[in-house]
Symmetry: C2
Subunit: 466 residues, 2 copies
Amino acid sequence: MTTLDPALETHLLATREARLDSYLELLRIPSISALPEHTGDVRRAAEWIAAELTRIGFEHVEVCETPRHPVVYADWLHAVGAPTVVVYCHYDVQPVDPIELWATAPFEPFVRDGRVIGRGAADDKGQLHMHLRAADALFATRGRLPLNLRIVFEGEEESTSESMPGWLEANRPRLAADAVVITDTGFFEGNIPAITESLRGILYTQIDVTGPPADLHSGTYGGNVENPANALARIIAELKDRAGIVQVPGFYDDVIPVDAAARARLAALPFDEAAYLERVGVPALAGDAAYTVLERGGARPTLDVNGIWGGFQGGGSKTIIPAHAHAKVSMRLVARQDPVAIFERFRAFVNDLAPPGVRVEVQRLGAGRPTSTSIDHPVVRAATEALRATFGQEPVFMRSGGSIPVAEMFEQQLGLPVILVGFTNPDDNAHAPNESMVLANYETGIRTICLLWDMLGRDGLGESSG
Amino acid sequence: MTTLDPALETHLLATREARLDSYLELLRIPSISALPEHTGDVRRAAEWIAAELTRIGFEHVEVCETPRHPVVYADWLHAVGAPTVVVYCHYDVQPVDPIELWATAPFEPFVRDGRVIGRGAADDKGQLHMHLRAADALFATRGRLPLNLRIVFEGEEESTSESMPGWLEANRPRLAADAVVITDTGFFEGNIPAITESLRGILYTQIDVTGPPADLHSGTYGGNVENPANALARIIAELKDRAGIVQVPGFYDDVIPVDAAARARLAALPFDEAAYLERVGVPALAGDAAYTVLERGGARPTLDVNGIWGGFQGGGSKTIIPAHAHAKVSMRLVARQDPVAIFERFRAFVNDLAPPGVRVEVQRLGAGRPTSTSIDHPVVRAATEALRATFGQEPVFMRSGGSIPVAEMFEQQLGLPVILVGFTNPDDNAHAPNESMVLANYETGIRTICLLWDMLGRDGLGESSG
């Protein structure tokens, strides 16, 4: 059974139009979890999804309250003897700024050149919708699923998943499963089907530098008062050296180098550096020359300013020493780096760098450990085969530079193996203007999911089964 | 004649209420020259002032067009044999942000605790209004002035006076004079009457760092793409060392050290460093330890970030590599530093610091040379005496850290001696929220101006007269 059940294909062909309408309807809800003014929209998306899950045939559908945004839970557990899989996606999206760079309104999605364009088209509402429609096809054609599924759709993945540890802890009994399939990753460059074998962790911080209680005249006070914006720039400059090596003491202590086999797998990927540079659109790549682009992007830690602000930002000139300046600084972590421990080192280092004329505070806005999956896990093997069968191409294994905080929670808190199977093309502009999803990936990926569930229902998990 | 004409005092006492009403009326016009949306307000202020000049008794009153904001010109030239003085003030004001730190609306001025509070109360509409009312008192009591005055009120001083060189050149014939009195400075700490013997020059720039064409996902691209905000922070950090010494090659070449007499004058000023620190409200002062606070603030050059921005500035977290980052960076210049020459050195240095993964551009937004006046000039001697007589306190000589671009133009372009006499208290919050003017300084300063005009009309300029 490594070809799709023809009844599913017939059903999927017949329902294509309605499926796209439903996909676009979900994208129209501006479920931006980071912005308080969109709290109601996030809930509206949760309720829309819950209604769909009920319609499709899931049971115990619930919009579960958390301290922030709701989790949508549902299950169907009547496949006696078959494995139980938790399916995780998230229905919240990134903010849309800089809004002026969008070709059209981010929450008025449309299809052009074979792509669905709109915020969340790829990350992750599009992929969530694939799971809805895969289950819908199975229920519609058979009245049942080939395995047991527990649905966990999160509403705050894009704002660091604060509520998830508590929710997972409180819902342990209904999260009993053999594995977690997370669909929030994508394909390799060139739209090659891929399974992600590791994710970087994240530590997200904010540095606040405060000087005088109000802006000062830079002529009158310049030369005598420490400038918070200059002080912040110096602090940020000291965080990395020119080669990009992070200078926080002990930062690399728990970075276990990737082994030779993993380096070889990365080296074997059909990566075209010139095409990558062209697509990214910068004059030159940067980073530690001791590593390849793919190693730097997935197997090495980073430090980036995500935002910086202070003082006068208008047209023309205003001659002030700003009262305060701020930066959002995040680090991507790998191997055994612990974001909580690194935050303490980071904060101490930043405080050491602060000049005496200003006050500096460092806040932790988010943290998640790095995660990885064995490429020999039976769900990974089945997913590889399902991808090959549906996309007609040999899938590759890759390391993602991104972070999915909940992956680490499933792994650490619940002890569940996590498998990362996603379908977006690398040029999807996730987190950026003009986010898009290749419609063919969406359509074929629904078939991949159906086939994967059928394979796991038929073959089980073999000896690795939990 | 070193006491005020009693007829003037009688008139000024009788017109106090109406004078305050008129002062507040002028402050209500939001004449922010840096912001295009206030262009009409700047013109409205010019027209208000022109109408006042006409009512008071000036001739040839004109709202003169320039490429940007108008210059208000007027004169009265019937004091045969008496000196001719150009009076310069500006009627434009700084922007008001951060608006949230104002106790009340910046353009709804009011009086509290003996101060007029509102944008422009001190810098410079309040001081301009003092000149209007001094002339008004003289015309009202005598029907004439004791000397010849040419009024030049500028509308873009707070946005670097771009139009002034051209306007001054075109108006050479009607700027023939013996001296220029600029009232755009203030008193010494502790509200001690002062004459400013030097002003710093200014070079105002903007650094624009551009990376990818749109924001990128910091997980996917972090480690391989130069981050424009990190690059900008590093550039800024390299512009000064930890002691505040500017690192631009050749920056100090034309800084002629202040001589021993000038250093002694500064050292003799009743400066209370603890009170200064308390008033500024920072944990510690900063700056080159080889100089005193007053030397650093008036006789040494500086470099300050006036504003910085790039990437995500909202609440929570957004995981991007920003597409671009920007900073407004200005330098205060002293002695013979030439802003145009320094700009070229600055730009070259910034370009040298730019890493290969980003594009960096440096714009010049404004430039003005430093200026200084001999403390022996007859107008300086007369002003000293007028201040002493009206305020009942010995005036001091000080060096201002600020810049008045037009001072240098009067000096360099027209060859006129420039005398800086102003009346604001140092805690006036110029350029900052809750700008204010001590009402007693405003009232007494009007008497100082009347007395100064009477002294110059009676005594002339002696042998130094031009």
